[in-house]
């Protein structure tokens, strides 16, 4: 069974910058640093940098905790005059059985604070989840330069 939440606009052009492993919390620290560097390079505001890096941290933590680790793909995305940072977190975990529930605040199956997906969604401009039971989950977020 496959579920989707949100989508990315197919007219947007993106360029892959980096692929990084997310298998442990040291790699999560490295991922945060790479995302911060790219956000600085694209001159996102300090607040937008912080929101993006925090969202990435939450999603990477999900990938570690529920997906058994995974991979992050970092991209620069363009749509007309706009540009921004796009990041996908890919895991080969069990998938999310009830995606609508998982998006709600306060819902957790892992003993956390239940802010992971919903909290991360509020910090970015675009948010999309593609999950298939038994195959894995891809979460893609975008933060545009204002």
């Amino acid at each position: 069974m496959t579920s989707n939440f949100g989508s990315t606009d197919s007219t947007e052009a993106d360029v892959e910058i980096k692929r990084l492993p997310v298998q442990n919390s040291e790699e999560l620290v490295m991922l945060r640093k790479h995302v911060r560097d790219l956000a600085v390079q694209l001159r996102l505001s300090l607040i937008d940098q912080t929101k993006l890096v925090t969202a990435v941290s939450e999603l990477a933590r999900n990938a570690l905790k529920y997906g058994g680790g995974g991979e992050a793909v970092l991209r620069i995305v363009r749509n007309g005059p706009r540009h921004g940072v796009r990041l996908s977190l890919i895991d080969a975990g069990p998938g999310i059985a009830d995606l609508d529930m998982a998006m709600l605040d306060g819902f957790t199956s892992g003993g956390g604070m239940g802010l992971g997906l919903g909290g991360a969604r509020r910090l970015v401009d675009d948010f999309a989840v593609h999950t298939t039971l038994g195959v894995g989950t891809v979460v893609t977020i975008t933060k545009w330069k204002r």
Partner: protein
Amino acid sequence: MDRIPILRMGDLLLVTIQVDMHDRLAMTLQDDLTNRIVQDQAKGVLIDISALDVVDTFIGRMISNTAAMARVLDATTVVVGMQPAVAITLVEMGLSLPGVRTALNIERGMALLGKRYHE
């Protein structure tokens, strides 16, 4: 193994977090602080996070838990120096650090704990 140093000043403990912590480092700090409260009979704990440019729910929970453990051990925790961008992000994400006292800087944090800075 990496450790974040804990300084004692009278009956206060001071921790300055200056690195982007991986999870084990954060959990070690939580354990170390709890042990030191008892060992040093501390009445207050100041956690300076002015160098932290990201606080996610894991670190937020570590801070909340540390404050709760300190309270059970009769010590008050004050988190000082949060960057404005971190405050905005935490609130938008929906994390409000329940039960944690905060102050703008170390001086005000010490005042909150009933100490004078130049004592």
